[in-house]
């Protein structure tokens, strides 16, 4: 049991300019499990993820990391135009991967057709898919995804969340996910941590949805998101506009 844990935060906090960004957070990510952080803007979701990644030096509390094989999708990333970078160069940024591995990852997120495109010419959604492909390509043990589907179209969003779930099962990797989409989060997560400067509540999606603090933060309606509208198509649209039958 103990060696299934990939990263464990024990009562951690971080302050900047004498202001606590987040305080008293405890959570752990295990192999094959998805832990989702939710909460309003400025509630410390990204900060918590960065603490887990070891990006801050002066933190309160302890972080225990049991893996160094990590894939990260940051919330914000801007590529300077002075640095010419194609998608394939970006895939090789932190790791040496073979062409096959790159192709596989880009195909999974549906952007293999963009491999030789310049990063600067991608749309927001396309770039987000490339970011996700890069993070999963190295077959990490721990994936930290900070709003990985921002700017992706609605059907793509659902497909990518399904992909994330699939990856966690296939690679048996742990995922720390930050998301705003309560709908998708609640259906695809093992454990939810609701943050607002501290941990408001945490538990399985069902438990959290019933929690009064959660209802106070997100409203009564959010509590009903568990019963999401589900339906099936008999075909999917690939990214280059083709139609593929299921």
């Amino acid at each position: 049991m103990g060696n299934n844990i990939l990263v464990k935060l024990n009562n951690v906090g971080f302050q900047q300019n004498q202001k606590w960004l987040v305080q008293g957070v405890s959570l752990q990510v295990e192999k094959g499990k998805i832990v989702t952080l939710i909460g309003p803007n400025g509630s410390g979701k990204s900060t918590t993820a960065k603490i887990a990644l070891g990006l801050f030096k002066n933190i309160e509390g302890q972080v225990e990391k049991f893996t160094n094989n990590i894939g990260y999708v940051p919330q914000k990333i801007s590529i300077d135009w002075t640095l010419p970078l194609r998608v394939r160069d970006f895939m090789l940024l932190t790791d040496n991967l073979t062409e096959d591995v790159i192709d596989e990852a880009l195909s999974l997120t549906g952007v293999i057709n963009l491999k030789d495109k310049s990063l600067g010419n991608l749309s927001g959604g396309e770039f987000q898919r490339v970011l996700l492909a890069r993070a999963i390509s190295k077959k990490p043990e721990l994936l930290v995804l900070d709003e990985p589907v921002q700017g992706v179209d609605f059907t793509g969003e659902i497909a990518l969340y399904e992909l994330i779930k699939e990856i966690s099962e296939k690679l048996n990797c742990g995922i720390l996910l930050i998301s705003h989409d309560l709908h998708t989060v609640m259906s695809a997560t093992d454990h939810v941590v609701c943050l607002n400067g501290h941990v408001c509540c945490s538990g399985s999606p069902k438990e959290v949805a019933k929690n009064s603090e959660y209802k106070a933060l997100f409203g009564e309606q959010a509590a009903q998101t568990l019963s999401i509208y589900e339906h099936k198509h008999d075909h999917v649209h690939t990214n280059d506009g083709d139609i593929k039958k299921n």
């Binding site: 990260y72 640095l83 160069d89 932190t94």
Partner: protein, 267 residues
């Protein structure tokens, strides 16, 4: 056919172009051109110290430039001034102190023009050895830190999160920058070294769609600038540094034509 001094200058220039291309790319990508300028200005102080203590010039410049880089980091931590103001402060005060020291060293004859703008006649055989051995070392080290340096240039946190060491790469790169300034000062001069780093690189940016290609074009641009610059320096009896940089500028202007074409193709 050519005099020995010219061959020496040419061999020196070729060596410098090979190193300036890749380093220049990172200077442009990381927006360090003013930082490079500051290190280069401080090199004059290094030269004067070398003369007054009868010390190796390249080593002296290297040490002073590295010291300036360290002082900058300390000032950034301890003051509220923006980086560009601190860089200006260090660049001009070290240049001024260098020139004041020269004023005191009346017993040594300095060729100030040569120090500031490079001297085609100044390169001796020992300098060639320094440039080629030093240059090879710089390239080797750059090769070793290439991945963390490039990754952290794209995104610092991403590089750190995925197990690379961006801080170390940055520190090593600063040292490399001090080193190339130290080896190229005689040929290009204090005031124009940054030009050698960034103008061929700027040209290369116009022609490349990926980092490796940009490095190669920057090297080619640097080599062409050295050839054209040195031949015209010989022909028109102009200082070597400005001639090389002027040649680089001409190449840059030609590269703009390619950008114009690409933009037209897109529309």
């Amino acid at each position: 056919m050519f005099d020995d001094f010219f061959i020496r200058a040419l061999v020196a220039g070729i060596g410098i172009a090979f190193v300036a291309g890749p380093l220049g790319c990172f200077v442009v990508w990381r927006r360090l051109s003013y930082f490079g300028d500051t290190l280069a200005h401080s090199a004059l102080l290094g030269v004067t110290i070398a003369y007054s203590l009868e010390f190796n010039i390249a080593v002296s410049i290297f040490l002073i430039s590295s010291a300036i880089a360290l002082i900058l980091i300390q000032l950034q931590k301890k003051t509220n001034l923006p980086s560009d103001a601190l860089l200006g402060l260090l660049a001009h005060s070290s240049l001024a102190i260098g020139l004041v020291v020269i004023g005191f060293l009346t017993f040594i004859r300095f060729d100030i023009m040569g120090l500031l703008f490079g001297d085609i006649l100044a390169v001796n055989k020992k300098d060639l050895l320094t440039i080629w051995v030093g240059g090879a070392l710089i390239l080797l080290v750059l090769r070793l830190i290439w991945k963390p340096l490039l990754a952290s240039t794209v995104n610092y946190e991403l590089a750190q999160a995925e197990g690379l060491n961006p801080d170390r790469a940055k520190a090593v790169f600063t040292v490399l920058l001090a080193a190339i300034i130290a080896i190229s000062i005689k040929l290009v001069g204090v005031l124009l070294i940054t030009g050698m780093l960034i103008i061929p690189t700027a040209m290369a940016r116009n022609l490349s769609d990926n980092p490796q290609k940009m490095v190669i074009f920057a090297i080619i641009g640097g080599l062409l600038s050295v050839f054209i610059g040195l031949f015209s320096s010989l022909e028109f009896n102009t200082p070597s540094g400005p001639s090389i940089i002027a040649a680089a500028l001409v190449l840059f202007i030609f590269s703009l034509l390619k950008v114009k074409q690409t933009i037209q193709l897109k529309n």
